[in-house]
Homo-oligomer: 318 residues x 2
């Protein structure tokens, strides 16, 4: 079986994993540890653990136990003093960390309980924080403040970085080394994708790895992060952090979102990512792969099955 | 295999179950739902669920999954806004109740996850509260207020009752009907044991049941509940609620606690339960069974192995 590593964070990793887990592939998810908002942020602050949210989502995506257990893990308390807003899975990982004594073991044990098909690896085991420098040189501290801007979201991001600088989790580097294929994205470019490549050692490991790399382009832009970004802009920013020529394939959605679903996004100043086929046809790398990929319903996100099918086709044709 | 039903609450049920689960017996735990203190009380109030604490303890006792999962279930958050003091297992049951839609299913599913040997059944599925009427006719509301008296704990309890009156869980009645043996206690007489018999239908089911009943007498008295109670007093109060002649065996600890461990108990106005062998030798029922039963260490409680061995002997000799 091919070794496939999925790198990202947020719901994007969930989408890719939950689709790919139905194929005969050896899956490993490497997830960001930059999250500092909501339930994860609070647990991180109060228990000094790594933010559990992205890990939880990846675990649930790979779970092959009863749907109930996955549902339980994703359950969010809707009331209760101090419990409200907490995801049960996050509390599960927090308690496991306390009982086992370390986060790595906690993830492994949670994986056993959820009977996951594959592995989930935090990109680093060290605590750090994501910063963004805006075009006016304002510094924004914290993933959640970049993700949902409290500053003027029209200002573009000049760069993101981690402080303190942290080392990669050895297991993450080993997985990248062993990989035949590496899937990057979809997900928020600056807050879910790039934070992985800011971790010391990851960029180098990716360059060295003989794995072919697939970048799954987002369907929609995001206010405060990728305002009006076109496909080539997404790619060029990613390549700024990864190195030019690292990505072998870019998967681009060609499906037009339904008008009624676009309204909400318009209000949030998000729009479908535009692409120029001509531009990509002239590139040596990455090779563009076009497909209709939007899931049914109001959320303009990738359909896990459709996306997995396209990825699997690329893998088997190469 | 013999059907053995264990009735009680608190740590007593845990002790009996964790000892007996090593014997070839078909175990069912029927646990009280009167608890309203601490983590259970808060979850009960805020989520409208049955108090999970006693159920959690019984589940953990019967668990045959990894020791880690049992440890996780018993883990209590020691910090965290709003999380502090909550038992993880209680949160687990609460979240499961929300996800499955009812508490009965939640217990069954938790039992599957913990791979329990046996069954755990709340004595009732309805919400109620325990009241105590003291000798001066003062009414005390709530299990936790009776358990740890805020009133003058020297006042004896005249009676306890539930308000509202609730019906027994059908499964509890079925288990009692099917039982070959029923173990009652050890545990706090008024707050862990008797509340089970106050539930409509339980007392009648116990009387009708052909099962032999064993009462495990406490090792120590408890301030505010059983001040200076002797063995025969424990029995007579229990029989007041159960009916005279219902108990077939009473297991009495004969081991003298170590002096250094008694100090702490003395401060809490608790003392070893005294018994009069002559008194019991003249009784037609229950038959007294004497044994040395104290566990090692500062907690003057039954040793699960020793207690289980005595119970199993009674069962196999009859």
């Amino acid at each position: 079986m091919k070794n496939v590593v999925v790198i990202g964070g947020g719901t994007g990793v969930f989408t890719v994993l939950s689709g790919l887990k139905n194929y005969p592939l050896n899956l490993t998810a490497i997830v960001t540890i930059a999250d500092d908002g909501g339930s994860s942020g609070l647990l991180r602050e109060e228990f000094g653990i790594l933010p559990p949210g992205d890990i939880r989502r990846a675990l649930v995506a790979l779970s092959s136990s009863s749907p109930l257990l996955a549902k339980l893990f994703s359950y969010r308390f809707s009331n209760g003093t101090g419990l409200k807003g907490h995801s049960f899975g996050n509390l599960f990982l927090t308690a496991l960390e306390k009982v086992t004594g370390d986060f790595k073991t906690a993830i492994k044990e949670a994986g056993k309980i959820l009977d996951i098909k594959g592995e989930v690896i935090p990109v680093s085991l060290e605590n750090t924080r994501l910063f963004a420098r805006l075009e006016n040189d304002l510094l924004v501290m914290g993933e959640s403040n970049i993700d949902v801007p409290k500053h003027d979201g029209n200002l573009l991001i000049k760069e993101v970085f981690l402080n303190p600088q942290v080392k990669a989790n050895r297991e993450a580097l080993a997985a990248i080394k062993k990989a035949d294929w590496i899937i990057i994205g979809p997900g928020d470019l600056y807050t879910s994708i790039i934070p992985n490549f800011l971790v010391k050692g990851v960029r180098e490991a990716l360059k060295k790895s003989k794995a072919k790399k697939i970048y799954v382009l987002n369907i929609m832009t995001k206010f405060g992060e990728t305002n009006s970004f076109t496909a080539d802009k997404f790619l060029s920013v990613l390549e700024k952090y990864l190195g030019k020529g690292v990505i072998d394939y870019i998967i681009i959605n060609t499906e037009k979102p339904k008008k009624q679903y676009l309204e909400k996004y318009k209000k949030e100043q998000a729009e479908p990512v535009k692409y120029d086929k001509k531009y990509f046809s002239q590139l040596k790398k990455p090779k563009p792969v076009y497909a209709k990929l939007i899931r049914n319903g109001p959320l303009l996100r990738h359909d896990p099955k459709k996306l997995a099918s396209v990825i699997y086709q690329i893998i088997t044709n190469n």
